[in-house]
């Protein structure tokens, strides 16, 4: 890169921000894609890839995508839980790539829940 100026420090920070914040486990929004056997059979992988693409296209920051096991509601797979920091998680069911787009635009980016695709708000918590 050549000799740095002080402003360059911030530029470098920005460019690697994403992966550093991933390591810190910090994020504004957490998207959990449920990938139990049922989920994978129903196409959860494609849903995951779709979300990842959306993040790339919109160059969105502070979003974590994690996987988890079966959520329990196998008939409604593929399922995704979107959790805003300090807010109740929202479960979305029977997803495909189009629905992912809408949910991403409205809920993830702007915080507006998309009720027609949602199952519920809140979830069981294991104490």
């Amino acid at each position: 890169m050549g000799k740095l100026k002080i402003e360059d420090l911030d530029k470098i920070s920005e460019s690697v921000r994403k992966r550093i914040s991933l390591r810190e486990g910090a994020g504004k929004v957490k998207i959990t894609v449920h990938m139990g056997t049922c989920g994978i059979a129903a196409g959860a992988r494609n849903v995951m890839t779709a979300f990842l693409n959306e993040i790339e296209i919109h160059n969105a920051k502070d979003i974590i995508v994690v996987t988890s096991g079966c959520a329990g509601l196998c008939s409604k797979e593929p399922m995704v839980t979107i959790e805003y920091e300090n807010q109740a998680p929202v479960k979305y069911i029977e997803l495909n790539e189009e629905k992912v787009k809408k949910i991403f635009d409205e809920h993830v980016l702007h915080g507006k829940i998309v009720p027609e695709y949602a199952l519920s708000i809140g979830s069981e918590r294991i104490q």
Binding site: I12, K18, R23, T67
Partner: protein, 610 residues
Amino acid sequence: MKNYRLQLMVCAGTACVSNHSLEIKEALEREIKNHNLENEAQVVQTGCNGFCGAGPILVVQPDGIFYQLLKVTDVKQIVEEHLIKGRPVKKLLYTPPEEKTPIPKLSDIPFFAEQTLIALRNRGLIDPENIDDYIARGGYKALAKVLTSMTPDEVLNEIKISGLRGRGGGGFPTGVKWESCKKAHGDEKYVICNADEGDPGAFMDRSIIEGDPHSVIEGMIIGAYAIENVKQGYIYVRMEYPLAIKRFQIAINQAREYGLLGQNIFDKGFDFDIEIRRGAGAFVCGESTALMASIEGKPGEPRAKYIHTVEKGLWDKPTCLNNVETWANVPQIILRGGKWFASIGTGDVSEDPWGGSKGTKVFSLAGKVNNTGLVEVPMGITLRDIIFRIGGGIRDGKKFKAVQTGGPSGGFIPESLIDLPVDYEELTKVGSMMGSGGMVVTDEDNCMVDMAKYFLAFTQAESCGKCIPCREGTKRMLDILEKITAGQGTEEDLVLLEELSNAIVESSLCALGGSAPNPVLTTLKYFRDEYEAHVKDKKCPAHICRQLNTYKINEKICLEIGHGCDVCKKYCPDGAIIGERKKVHYIDPAKCGKCGACYDVCNFNAIYIE
């Protein structure tokens, strides 16, 4: 474009590397490729995580899942179960001893949860061979702040307010040292980083260098700026740390490329560069005057410090030497303020720089604890908390006996004193010292006389040999200890041992001799009963000193359970076991050479020590 959603942090500190962690990293990369996850998951090598007893370690972020004791064969399962299906592999997670449920998240594991990271703030989160990672975590921001908006005096003042004291062992207030160097006559001065971590079992500095070398470099540049007239810095690394040397060199090269070392840093007209010098295998070269002699190309021997090295050091020029951990704390102090640093720890340094111990300290916890590794804790935490909360208590449910702080020159602290807060002055008061941060825990199965002999043997072998008290005195002390552990000690020997120890402490030329007798002095003070048992009763209470053991065979067990298996007789080198197959065996005390081979070999525990 790579759109990572996963960061797989593989620990690549020396300990994990020697346990094949780099092969695990390669296996991970292979499996990820096989499963088409290259664009989603990035494998990053980091420095030491600190929990070295559990290595090789993998941390999966952003989940924060902690995998331990990995083998290359485990990788496939992790990728398939966890990365793809989202199910962490239970059997590879950390399970506290005596419990059944694993703790998946790193932040929940008590070893990590109780720590406060300042010097190790980037632990496990950055690739030490990539300067961009360091910058992204706020690196070199402190340097920018210093060069744009602070005068050298202001920087110095911040360090003084923080109460930072030398982390290498002496605990000398860093602000006072920098100030003396600044005031010394001369317009050619040097800064040195002492990375010749010689204490056996201590690896704090190595961790910092292997995991976050830039923190040290940034600290040195800031120090050079504050002291003024410093154009060149040296890092003296012991040659037994090849990985650390490699990572330092890569870091320096990358910093030079970015213009953070060299001429006109950040276009602010400040020049500074760093060179690495390697040690050659002498513990005494960790002593500042011996280190400087070594850099100058002379034999590594200390000299009298009546004229301090801040006035006449390297090539007789004013030199400021600080430990790796001390330098690593500097950028944080500048960024967050000296007051913030002083708010952590004990005492009050506003009037007297020696009035308290501020900030955090990295300790290397080793010995008979469950969780061995590196911990960074705020000053003032009690020894009990470190050993039992963070360290997870004594292994195998044994009873705690003593903890040795400060490396081979430190003293042993018995149970009655472990509610002591960790603080420079408190530890010195009881006869030990903070040292570089080594903490060795002993339990009821350790013999304190043997432990003292072990540490004295180290310092005696590492003595440079220049002055009479250390060279001759420590050897005489070791001879006496050998006598005692062989069962030939007398009461006069104990008196002599104490007298020699005190004389050596008073009259040695450098701190190696001045502190070598500490293990002996503290064990004599707190565990005199063990010495007396060795000398009067000719017995070793912990059964470690084999020459004092009397080996006997429990006839009942030998006959009924062992059925006279005859194995011990085959192993006895002295022909001291009498017996025939299927009959009871006896040990003839007259012939027994006390080697303990029979004791080790009996499968039925029929042999016991009286």
